[in-house]
C-alpha cells in the first residue's frame, strides 16, 4: 500500500470517527427517524388534491413577483459585478495592495447566506420584495465578481501580449485582449445565477422579503397542506421553465452563438 493510500485511509477513519462523535453530541434521535418518515407520508397524503382556496390569482401574482425579484437582482448584480470583477483581477490591477480589500469584500458578500442578507435588508428598508432583491443582489455581486476576477486571471495572456506589442495601452489591451475571452463565460454565469436566484427568491418570503415564500410560510404555519401543494407545484413549474430557457441560452453561448 502506497503512502498516499495510507494517508487516505487515515483521513477516512478520522472523518468517520468525527461524524460518530458529532452524532452522539447532537443526540441525533435515530429512533425518531422511522415515525418521522411515516408522518411525512401522511403529510403527502394530506396534500392531495392540491387546491388554491380561490387564491390562484394571488399565488400566480406572487410568483411573477418572485421571478421579477430574481431578474432585478440578476441584472443589477450582473452589471455592478462586471467592473468590480475586472478591478479584482491581477491582470488588470497588478497591485495586490489595491486588490485585496475588493477581493475580501467579495468574499464577505457571498459568504453571508441570502436569508441573513434578507433579514438585514428587511431591517434596513422594511418588509417586501425590495429587501429580497437587495439580498439576492449582494450575494450575486460577490460571487459573480469573484468568478470574473478568476476568469480574467486564467484567460490566455497571448492576445494581450499581441496587442501590447502593437502599442496598445492598458485599456485597449484589456478591452480587446481580455473581454472577448471572458464575456461569454461571464454571461453564462449570470444566466446560471438567474436560475439560482429564482430558487432562492421562493424562500425569501419566509423572512418577509417578498415573493411567493410569503404565502408558502403562511400556509405551512397553519398546516394548510393542500394549498402548500399548489404553491410547490407552481414553484416547480416556474423553476423548470426558467432552467430550461436559461440552459438553452447558456449552451448557445458556449458554442459561440
Amino acid at each position: 500500500m502506497g503512502a498516499a493510500e495510507d494517508c487516505g485511509v487515515k483521513w477516512g477513519l478520522a472523518v468517520l470517527a468525527f461524524t460518530a462523535y458529532a452524532a452522539w453530541q447532537l443526540g441525533l434521535p435515530l429512533r425518531g427517524l422511522g415515525p418521522g418518515v411515516v408522518k411525512l407520508f401522511g403529510i403527502a397524503g394530506q396534500m392531495l388534491p392540491p387546491e388554491s382556496g380561490g387564491q390562484l390569482g394571488v399565488f400566480v401574482y406572487s410568483l411573477v413577483e418572485t421571478v421579477a425579484m430574481a431578474l432585478a437582482a440578476t441584472v443589477m448584480a450582473g452589471i455592478a459585478a462586471f467592473p468590480l470583477g475586472l478591478l479584482g483581477a491581477g491582470r488588470v490591477v497588478p497591485s495586490l495592495f489595491a486588490r485585496w480589500p475588493l477581493r475580501r469584500g467579495m468574499d464577505v458578500a457571498r459568504s453571508i447566506d441570502s436569508l441573513l442578507w434578507a433579514l438585514l435588508f428587511v431591517n434596513a428598508v422594511g418588509l417586501g420584495p425590495f429587501a429580497g432583491v437587495m439580498a439576492l443582489t449582494m450575494i450575486d455581486l460577490g460571487t459573480l465578481a469573484k468568478l470574473l476576477s478568476e476568469t480574467v486571471d486564467h484567460a490566455s495572456i497571448g492576445p494581450v501580449e499581441g496587442l501590447e506589442a502593437a502599442g496598445a495601452n492598458r485599456w485597449e489591451s484589456v478591452r480587446f485582449g481580455i473581454l472577448p475571452q471572458v464575456l461569454p463565460a461571464y454571461t453564462s454565469q449570470v444566466l446560471y445565477y438567474f436560475e439560482s436566484n429564482i430558487r432562492h427568491a421562493t424562500i425569501l418570503g419566509i423572512v418577509g422579503a417578498g415573493g411567493i415564500g410569503t404565502y408558502l410560510s403562511d400556509r405551512l404555519r397553519v398546516n394548510d397542506w393542500r394549498e402548500v401543494a399548489t404553491l410547490v407545484l407552481l414553484i416547480l413549474l416556474t423553476v423548470t421553465v426558467v432552467d430550461r430557457c436559461s440552459r438553452w441560452a447558456r449552451l448557445r453561448l458556449e458554442r459561440g452563438v
Binding site: 497571448g158 492576445p159 501580449e161 499581441g162 496587442l163 501590447e164 506589442a165 502593437a166 502599442g167 496598445a168 495601452n169 485599456w171 485597449e172 478591452r175 480587446f176 485582449g177 472577448p180 475571452q181 459561440g256
Partner: protein, 252 residues
Amino acid sequence: MWRTRSCGAYSLLEITGLRKSYGGTTALDGLSVSFAAGQMVGIVGRSGAGKSTLLRCVNRLIEPDSGGIVYGGRDILALRGSALHDWRAECGMIFQQFHLVDRLDAVTNVMLGAVRRRRTLPLLFKIFPEADRRRAMELLERLDLAAQSGQMVRTLSGGQQQRVAIARALMQGVKILLADEPVASLDPENARVVMEALRGLQREDGVTVLCNLHQLELARTYCDRVIGLAKGKVIFDGRPAEMTERIYTAAV
C-alpha cells in the same frame, strides 16, 4: 568567439552588454550585437539560448537587468509611458502562437494595428475610421486573405492567422519587425508562405526583420545574415552560407 560585425553602412539597432536573468537562470549574458537597416536577420540557437528574451527586450515586453538598446540614436531602455507605446507600435512583433484576438474577425484584428494612432475611447466601442478599414482590407488582400477578412480569427488555419498577424504589423507601419519563431507551429508549405511574406516585407517595404528560427534550413533560405546564440551570447555572426551545424553543437 565571433566578433560582432554589422553588415551595413550604418547600424540601425545597437545592442550592447544586454543582461537578463530569471532567478538563477541567465537568459542573456552580456549580449552585444548590432543590426543594419533593411536586412532580414535570422537568429538561431538551441532551445533556451535566449532568442525570445532578446526580441522581447527589444520591444520592452521584458525589462533587461542591464545593458543598452539604441535604435536610430534613441535610447530604447529609457522610454516610458506613451513614448514606449509609440516605440512598440513602430517595432512590430509576431509570435509562434500568433497572439491575435481569437474572437474577432480578421479585418478587426488588422485594424487594431493602428491602435497607437487612434483615440482610445472610440476604439473601446469598436468604432474604427473608414480609412483604417480600407487599409486593412488592402493589407489582407496583399497577404492573399481577402476572402477570409470577415472570418473569426480562431476559425482560420495557423498559416492564415500568422499572415493576419503580419498584416496587423503592416497596419502598425512598422520599420522593424521582431518575429519569434513565426513558423514553428506551421507545416512546411505554410511556413514557406509566411517566410515569403516576411521576405516581401523586407524587400518591398524596407522593413528590418529579426526572425528567431530553429530550423537552420529556413535561415539559410530566407535570411541575409544569421546570428547564432548559445547561453545568452553570440557564438556565430555571418552570412548564411558560412553557417554550419556547429551552432547547435557549440559548447553548451
